[in-house]
Symmetry: C2
Subunit: 195 residues, 2 copies
DNA sequence: AATTGGTTTGACCATATGGTCAGACCGCAA
DNA sequence: TTGCGGTCTGACCATATGGTCAAACCAATT
């Protein structure tokens, strides 16, 4: 269990690391935001590296907890796709996607270490494999579908700044467009793979 | 025109900044890689900030020089999509996409400044607008199509590490899959928007 | 009141890093 | 040869930053 102080530290550390990245993050800033002194940081978490590991691990743990959609047998495959895309977009919007990608790129060992530690990347590959078996779906490589759906849902959030400028939209307008996007895109995907 | 030394510096600076990010990059490392001394860096480029700006601007300039596809009138719209997706995937693979996204996220002013400086983000929005007019295409929001196509092509490259682990593929196998991906995905997009 | 164990911090250290400066180096024109 | 403009660098500086340590603080126990 985490003490009160540890929670405060984790919270401000998460904010700092996510916004600035490992290299940009400052322990002093984390300490200040948590309302404690720098030595206290080291008292609870040995080092910057160690604190970062905790935050990063946590981010990967929380990566996509959207399993309900797939387990719900009363949904048709079309409904599952609609629900999944919407949930995924929503998830990425509040999530740690860019943080994870950025830091993995900085240091690929982060993923390797984690896999060695047992915790795999909990993916939804199998769900896609099953879905593609459906009679009404044309023959499709489930892996390609898997990658495509994730891309469609994640990238517009990651790259929002560029898209906003390209389309000359305010942040508000862009977010409005995103709501449409999630719906329209699900239909397009369904349309694309339906026989 | 750039002197020989300036070119060497730009090259090693580009490599360093792209791999480590602004905060992770070290001027000493750039100087070493260029085979010159640190003061020489400051002689040619006033400061780290300034050198970074040059590299970043250049990266944005080179962002997607794939205009030929669209200007080629002998191609059907289907062929254009096929060609465009393949070119785009190829571009992102060698490109600076993650670098750009990472740094914009670190400091959104980077984009703002550039737009104020006149250089817009050269997008392909208009091409999509025109294409969607086609009779054989069902009514589609060109902006959504624009975002979707870019996402499909860019994200698999950015997030390659995660996808590799999720799908339990070696880097080699993943790159092979990517070749299929570019083709298959074009068909899926066409299928999705065709009447 | 005194002791003890866990918690917290001011003061400090070693190192890394961006940046500066006086002077060396070098090709070339006078 | 000399002088000059441009190029280049060793030595140095100021500051930021991760990390340490001895001492203070404090609640609970005896």
């Amino acid at each position: 269990m985490l003490t009160d102080t540890e929670k405060k530290i984790m919270n401000s550390a998460r904010a700092e690391f996510e916004q600035k990245g490992f290299n940009g993050a400052r322990l002093q800033a984390i300490a200040d935001a948590a309302g404690i002194s720098k030595p206290s940081l080291h008292y609870y978490f040995r080092s910057k590296e160690n604190l970062f590991q905790k935050i990063f691990d946590e981010a990967l743990d929380e990566y996509m907890p959207i399993v309900n959609t797939w387990k719900n047998d009363s949904l048709t495959w079309e409904q599952k796709i609609v629900s999944f895309t919407q949930e995924l977009v929503k998830y990425v919007q509040n999530g740690h996607m860019l943080f994870i990608i950025r830091e993995i790129n900085r240091n690929p060992d982060l993923l390797e270490d984690r896999i060695k530690k047992g915790k795999g990347t909990n993916s939804f590959v199998t769900y896609f494999e099953e879905m593609v078996q459906q009679d009404e779906i044309q023959q499709t490589d489930s892996r390609i579908l898997f990658i495509m759906v994730h891309s469609i849902c994640s990238f517009p959030v990651l790259n929002s700044q560029m898209f906003q400028k390209s389309l000359k939209l305010s942040e508000k307008k862009y977010n409005e467009l995103m709501e449409d996007y999630a719906k329209v895109v699900a239909d397009l995907i369904i349309n694309a793979i339906k026989k």
